[in-house]
C-alpha cells in the first residue's frame, strides 16, 4: 500500500550549490548523502516533515540525470512514494500491465526501489520505495 510521499527528486547541476539553498537557507537536515554509481548520481536526502527532498547531481553527461539536465535544465525530476511492500506493489503493477522501468526492485538511496515508466503516469516519473531503515 502507498503510505506517503517518501521524497521529491530534484535534478541539480551541483549538489554543493543546491545544498546551500536546501540545507543552509531552508535549514533542512541532510539525512543521507552518497554516490550511487549504478544510477550515475551524487545524491542527498534532506528531511522535511514526514517526507524528504532528494537532490541529484549527475556523475556525467551520459547518465539519466545528465541527459535530463541537458534537455530540461534543473528542476523537478520525480516523485517517490513509500510503500510497505514493494514486491506486492510491483506484482500488482505487472498484473495490470503498467509500463515499468524496473521489472524487479533494486537498491537505491531510499531503500528497495523501482521506477514506473513516465508513459504510465501521463508524463510523471514515479518511484516506489520500501525503506530499509
Amino acid at each position: 500500500m502507498i503510505q506517503k510521499i517518501h521524497h521529491i527528486g530534484i535534478a541539480v547541476k551541483s549538489l554543493d550549490e543546491a545544498l546551500r539553498f536546501y540545507s543552509e537557507t531552508l535549514g533542512l537536515t541532510v539525512h543521507k548523502q552518497a554516490v550511487v554509481e549504478q544510477q550515475g548520481v551524487k545524491a542527498a536526502l534532506l528531511t522535511i516533515g514526514q517526507s524528504e527532498i532528494e537532490l541529484l547531481e549527475p556523475l556525467g553527461p551520459e547518465t539519466p540525470i545528465g541527459r535530463f539536465l541537458e534537455r530540461r535544465g534543473e528542476g523537478l525530476h520525480h516523485v517517490c512514494f513509500q510503500t510497505d511492500g514493494i514486491d506486492q506493489e510491483l506484482a500488482g503493477l505487472k498484473a495490470k500491465g503498467v509500463e515499468l522501468i524496473d521489472q524487479e526492485p533494486r537498491i537505491g538511496l531510499a531503500g528497495r526501489i523501482c521506477f514506473l515508466h513516465p508513459r504510465a503516469m501521463k508524463g510523471v516519473l514515479v518511484e516506489l520505495a520500501e525503506p530499509l531503515d
Binding site: K4, I5, E17, T25, G27, G49, S51, L93, M121, G123
Partner: protein
C-alpha cells in the same frame, strides 16, 4: 520553520483522466474536483500531503501562471507556520520571494520563491490558518 511538503502540483490537460490513472495504477483516490478561478483542480491525498492534478480552465492568476508551466510536476507547496517570517528569513539570505497573497482555498495564504533561488523548482510557501 519549513514544516512539511503540503502538496505537489501536477499540470495536466485532463484532470479527471489523470485522476483515473492515479487511482487505477497506484490506488490513490482523488477528491471531488475543486473549481478555482482559472483552474480545475483534483486533490489526491497521500499521507499527510496531497497531489494536486491541475488543468487550466479560463482566465485567472493561477490559471495564467499554470499555462506557462510545462505538463507534469510543476509546483511544490511547503507549509510554514509564519509566512511573513519565512519570507523575511529567505529574503535575508538572498532568495527572491513574492509578496504574500491569498490562495485558492479559504484561510490559505502563500508566496512564491523564485526558481533562480531554488535550482529550478517552483516552491510555494503555504500558511494555513487554523
Amino acid at each position: 520553520m519549513f514544516k512539511r511538503i503540503d502538496y505537489l502540483t501536477i499540470k495536466t490537460d485532463d484532470a479527471a483522466g489523470a485522476a483515473q490513472v492515479w487511482e487505477a495504477t497506484l490506488g490513490l483516490k482523488g477528491r471531488a474536483p475543486q473549481p478555482m478561478v482559472g483552474v480545475r483542480s483534483i486533490s489526491v491525498p497521500v499521507g499527510d500531503a496531497f497531489l494536486e492534478l491541475a488543468q487550466t480552465e479560463g482566465e485567472g492568476p493561477y490559471g495564467d501562471w499554470l499555462r506557462q508551466q510545462a505538463e507534469g510536476m510543476c509546483l511544490v507547496g511547503i507549509e510554514v507556520d509564519d509566512l511573513a517570517g519565512a519570507i523575511a528569513h529567505l529574503r535575508a539570505r538572498g532568495a527572491q520571494v513574492s509578496e504574500p497573497q491569498p490562495g485558492g482555498a479559504p484561510g490559505v495564504r502563500f508566496a512564491l520563491v523564485d526558481t533562480a533561488s531554488t535550482h529550478g523548482v517552483p516552491i510555494a510557501l503555504v500558511q494555513r490558518s487554523t
